[in-house]
């Protein structure tokens, strides 16, 4: 990997590593909600005779705890600095670099995700593993595929948030878009409940027509081996396609944005 990328990833990692109390508080909250969600889903499964929408008890446990950990890694709830920098006009410094801001933001976000993986992913997972029995994948392939799918989820989620950040060039204040995104990305990515509990037509539409399942549902389903290796590969492929499409959308929107740019604040 070229040194620019490595330097940007390291910078993203270090930026977030400076906020230790926030990291601790975030991991703690994720863990508490892990217990809540885990007990709710397990009691639903118990009432339904041991399984829920095809997920067994241990599968649900893995689903919840891995999801609680991945939430901070994928980071769909926190917006990039981009929108704020557009609003204040600081984006001008990003545009005056010899590197496209899309790439500088991507590499820094990957660094951030790396830090979250070491802290906010691991902490809830360890607590969850102490309190519950996790599902252990039967096929060894599930592990590398889970890692690949998580990486793709990070990239897809980054592209979505970058696109939302770019809307600031037109809207200036993106709070409305952000609220909409937080609600939809939570419900449609499998964070609140597995998408399989939805009616077939709805879950199929979400998988085919939206990038949301790529954010969490995809890696989680691979981790609990829903469908075989073939399906896991298909899921990764669809994530990759969404990643490419969203990056193209980002490039297009960015070139439009820069052309109409009015730097805020003189």
């Amino acid at each position: 990997m070229a040194r620019v990328q490595a330097a940007l990833i390291a910078a993203g990692f270090r930026r977030h590593a400076t906020y230790r109390q926030a990291t601790f508080a975030g991991a703690f909250t994720n863990t508490v909600f892990g217990f809540l969600r885990c007990y709710i889903l397990l009691s639903v499964a118990a009432a339904a005779g041991g399984a829920m929408a095809g997920y067994s008890g241990p599968q649900l446990v893995s689903y919840v705890w891995l999801g609680q950990g991945l939430l901070a890694v994928v980071n769909s709830w926190t917006m990039l600095d981009l929108a704020e920098r557009v609003r204040t006009g600081d984006v001008v410094a990003d545009l005056l670099r010899p590197v496209d801001p899309l790439w500088t933001y991507l590499w820094t976000d990957i660094g951030r995700a790396g830090f979250a993986l070491l802290t906010r992913f691991v902490a809830p997972l360890v607590v969850g593993a102490l309190a519950f029995d996790f599902y252990v994948p039967q096929s060894f392939l599930a592990y590398p595929l889970f890692i690949l799918s998580t990486l793709l989820a990070i990239v897809v989620c980054f592209a979505c948030r970058y696109l939302i950040g770019l809307t600031a060039f037109w809207l200036l204040d993106i709070r409305g878009v952000t609220m909409f995104w937080v609600f939809v990305s939570g419900a449609a990515s499998g964070l609140y409940f597995p998408l399989a509990v939805l009616p077939d037509w709805l879950s199929t539409t979400l998988w085919v027509a939206t990038p949301f399942p790529s954010l969490l549902q995809a890696p989680l389903d691979i981790a609990v081996e829903r469908g075989g290796t073939g399906q896991a590969l298909l899921v990764c492929l669809s994530q990759a396609v969404w990643g490419v499409l969203l990056f193209l959308a980002c490039r297009w929107a960015q070139s439009r944005a820069v052309r109409k740019l009015v730097v805020q604040g003189g």
Binding site: R3, L8, R14, T88, A93, L96
Partner: protein, 318 residues
């Protein structure tokens, strides 16, 4: 010539509310036909009142804003089309913006910039040392940017803009909000940069002391037009700025006394202090005539005031 602009224009469309629902759109020209050429190694002061179009011009020269009309070349490149290529060859400091990474120590921002601009390690270290010596960065190099004072941050910004050895440095109000010492540090740094002569500097400022101490050439812009392009002396000559003699006397100023080549502008302090404005005669002649006419206790000759000239210039144009 490293910068050239011909007929450079930027129009903004502004919508104004008329009636309950109706909005009226009208076009405002922030920059209206600016012609400008800057030679390599020059230090140019680009001044004008608030809203004159200084920052807008700078943004068009650096490629972040698309001109509505006219031609512009910086380092032989068209700024907007070649923005990322040009970015390697110019440095920019916007006094009210930061290009440093807020959460990271200053030093980390510098090393990140080294990678982004692909600067060889040796060059980076040499430039950093030079800036560090002149601007005294050592005491806060390891401090996160968010904890720096404005003066410290601005010294960091200047360094950040110069680490890749730019051919042109654009400074948009680099001394805004700084205390006297930080201003001096920035000014002496820029003087040094100018003396070395390998960097062209375009400086916008409201601080006229910056101009007086730094710029040989001054471009004044108002309402989007260039209203003066020349030296400070030429500006004084154009506005007939005159030197002033203030004399303290042992005895009161005789009423009705006039001196050839000077006008009495005020008589104060029980008629023991008189202010004369030179009008055609040399200071020496007037002082000699003064010494013959009255008994002098103290005397000072004051250079024309740049603030006066510029405020007259701004008022004239508006």
């Amino acid at each position: 010539m490293i910068i050239s602009a011909r007929g450079l224009r930027k129009d903004f469309t502004v919508t104004r509310k008329v009636g309950r629902l109706r909005r009226e759109r009208h076009v405002v020209s922030a920059v209206d036909g600016v012609d400008l050429t800057v030679e390599r190694g020059e230090l140019l002061g680009y001044i004008g009142p608030n809203g004159a179009g200084k920052s807008t011009t700078l943004k068009m020269l650096t490629g972040v804003l698309t001109p509505s009309g006219g031609e512009v070349r910086v380092c032989g490149l068209e700024p907007v089309a070649k923005r990322t290529t040009l970015a390697r060859r110019i440095g920019v400091v916007f006094g009210q913006r930061s290009q440093l990474w807020w959460d990271l120590p200053l030093e980390d921002s510098f090393s990140l910039l080294r990678h982004i601009y692909r600067v060889p390690e040796g060059d980076h270290a040499a430039r950093l040392k030079q800036c560090s010596d002149l601007l005294g960065l050592d005491e806060f190099r390891h401090t996160p940017v968010r904890q720096l004072s404005l003066g410290q941050r601005m010294r960091g910004e200047l360094t950040a803009a110069l680490l890749h050895g730019p051919e042109v440095l654009f400074l948009d109000e680099p001394t805004i909000g700084l205390d006297v010492l930080s201003k001096q540090a920035v000014r002496s740094f820029l003087t040094d940069l100018d003396r070395r002569g390998d960097t062209t500097v375009v400086l916008t400022t409201h601080d006229l002391a910056d101009i007086e101490k730094l710029c040989r050439r001054l471009v004044v812009i108002d309402h989007g037009h260039v209203v003066h392009d020349g030296t400070l002396d030429e500006l004084h000559a154009r506005y007939r700025s005159r030197r002033i003699i203030v004399a303290d006397l042992d005895t009161p100023w005789p009423e009705g006394l006039t001196l050839p080549g000077a006008v009495v502008t005020s008589v104060e302090a029980d008629a023991r202090r008189v202010t004369l404005t030179l009008d055609g005669a040399a200071a020496g002649e007037v002082v000699a005539a003064l010494a013959q006419a009255v008994s002098l206790r103290d005397l000072s000759v004051q250079e024309p005031n740049i603030e006066d000239v510029v405020s007259r210039l701004y008022r004239d144009e508006s």
